[in-house]
Symmetry: C2
Subunit: 335 residues, 2 copies
């Protein structure tokens, strides 16, 4: 067995993986799941140096970077990492990375791929059922002892037959559609950047979100946040959705004009909302805390033990494969 | 237009429909939805007379009875209703009726049929997602303002791939199975009085509930309450389900040994529960009120505005059809 000194020396010689921001998965799930005998982490966020100074001092030999959804990697950062050849990110999306610059520099990318989609879709459906059937609210009612003292809780609303409008029919939106149409007998329509091939995606397409809202009982937001989708659910869309309408948001808070949505919920201009995301997380508009027709979830749609375990397997697997010159497990193919 | 006196006289002449217990749907939804210009109700529960005296005095001419799940109609009651030819019940089940005696007396029966099944199945799936993904608990956490002050909520558990054991694969159980296997990518097995035709029902059958529990991550109880199913989920079944296992009950409280289940939940011998029904409703064991891994619903799995509307349409339609000698809308066929 190696002596502690020998082990430390061996560890010294391991290739390093740079991390710029503390990955939430380390805190939520445990850093130990992401460690390996084949590499070690170099954490710029544990240094007291500003990032550019840290990278000027330490960046040159770095060949691999572990990024998160919040790790913005632009040309400036890449300039300080001339030998970088791999970015592994814990996110499904890649908006935080300058993909053109990565391509120019020959940097390969491995993302979390599809591992979160099922969980996010499950959460969206769970929030929808919860709002329509008043599960959280009646749970609170029972737990406060009101069932015996005050009698029945107000009636919920049926899911079957509801017209569901999905904004953003990517991996997550498609899984939401499948659950609700095949599983629950809802009818699904969608809005997306462009219309999908109707042979593969049979749901009616609406170019205009307001028109989609006018023809939906519930809008489920599953799109990425871009300049085009920022506040795509605005005052007019909320008015089109109407008094019986429900919003479910598992995308990003800023996809909705939150202030306007809060006003609509308070004034009864829409019926309810199930929200996993907010414009200014973890701050939630205080009006929402009081409303029984609103179900709030702390941006946890992707967070299950199983998805974290899968993420750890994928992150470690990609990094080990890279350092062993083997094929990556989930390489992003630029097209 | 008829004078008030003439209208009262006309109403006097309408055929009567006897009601023995106040239907919950009258209170929850509104009696006005169940009224008709073709019949009027005679409510024994509004009389101060004991039931047998009331029926002795008023029962003889009654041809139709509106029953609820709680209206026990045995040979003794039927004896006092010699002209009864129709029972319309607001329940899907008919356990409360002496079917053999009804048949002997030529009494036809119209039930609520399948109108509740989709809602109950939706509620079962909603409770399962809620327990696994901690929706109600994290909603409470956010609403209490803890997200910003205490950080992330503990990880939930993934639905996809879970092994679901359904106890009672009738109309409701089949709809639960469809949602979870087709919609969410779970695997379904079941226990039922007898094995279904495998050409129609492809899920593996377990004769023994304990064995089903040992091979399931969640047990969903969808069976009727009979002498065979009373406490079918007992200490041994709960032990077989185990520390990671979840119970969802949308059947009847007494299908589970509630005291034993509460002990298992408190002591962490099972992981959680989503419960719409209890042994002594509306009283809920007080230990359950404190537990974050338990979601409680006030026996509202069948209660949606839409199902109540459908029920009213069916009750009124069956009664009007009967008095007009037309075919009933949902006649129970004894086989």
């Amino acid at each position: 067995m190696a002596s502690p000194a020998a082990a430390a020396a061996a560890e010294e010689n391991l290739p390093q993986v740079l991390i710029l921001l503390n990955p939430p998965a380390f805190t939520i799930f445990g850093e130990e799941y992401f460690t390996s005998s084949k590499f070690r982490f170099l954490k710029s966020y544990e240094s007291s140096l500003p990032l550019d100074e840290f990278l000027s001092a330490n960046g040159r030999p770095m060949r691999a970077l572990l990024a998160t959804a919040a790790t913005i990697v632009g040309a400036g950062v890449l300039e300080l990492l001339p030998d970088l050849r791999l970015i592994v990110t814990t996110s499904a999306g890649l908006d935080q990375l300058d993909l053109a610059e990565c391509r120019r520099r020959g940097i390969r990318i491995a993302s979390a791929g599809d591992i979160y989609s099922a969980d996010v879709a499950d959460c969206a459906v769970g929030l929808l059922i919860d709002v329509l059937r008043k599960i959280s609210a009646s749970n609170r009612y029972v737990k406060n002892g009101f069932w015996a003292s005050k009698g029945d809780y107000p009636l919920g609303s049926k899911l079957r037959g509801k017209r569901i409008g999905i904004v953003g029919l990517g991996r997550i939106g498609l899984q939401v559609a499948k659950r609700l149409q095949q599983g629950f007998g809802c009818t699904v329509s969608y809005n997306s950047r462009k219309k999908k091939n109707p042979d593969q995606v049979p749901y009616p397409f609406y170019q205009d979100v307001q028109e989609l809202a006018a023809n939906s009982d519930a809008l489920i937001l599953c799109c990425g946040l871009t300049e085009q989708t920022r506040h795509v659910v605005d005052k007019e869309v909320l008015a089109a959705l109407g008094k019986a309408g429900v919003i479910v948001n598992v995308a990003r808070g800023a996809v909705v004009d939150e202030k306007e949505m809060v006003r609509c919920l308070v004034e009864g201009e829409i019926a309810g909302a199930g929200l996993d995301v907010f414009e200014d997380e973890p701050v939630v508009p205080k009006e929402l805390l009081e409303l029984d027709n609103v179900v709030l979830s702390p941006h946890s749609a992707v967070l299950t033990r199983e998805s974290m375990m899968e993420l750890a397997r994928l992150v470690v697997g990609n990094l080990e494969a890279f350092f062993s010159n083997e094929p990556l497990l989930s390489e992003y193919e630029d097209d």
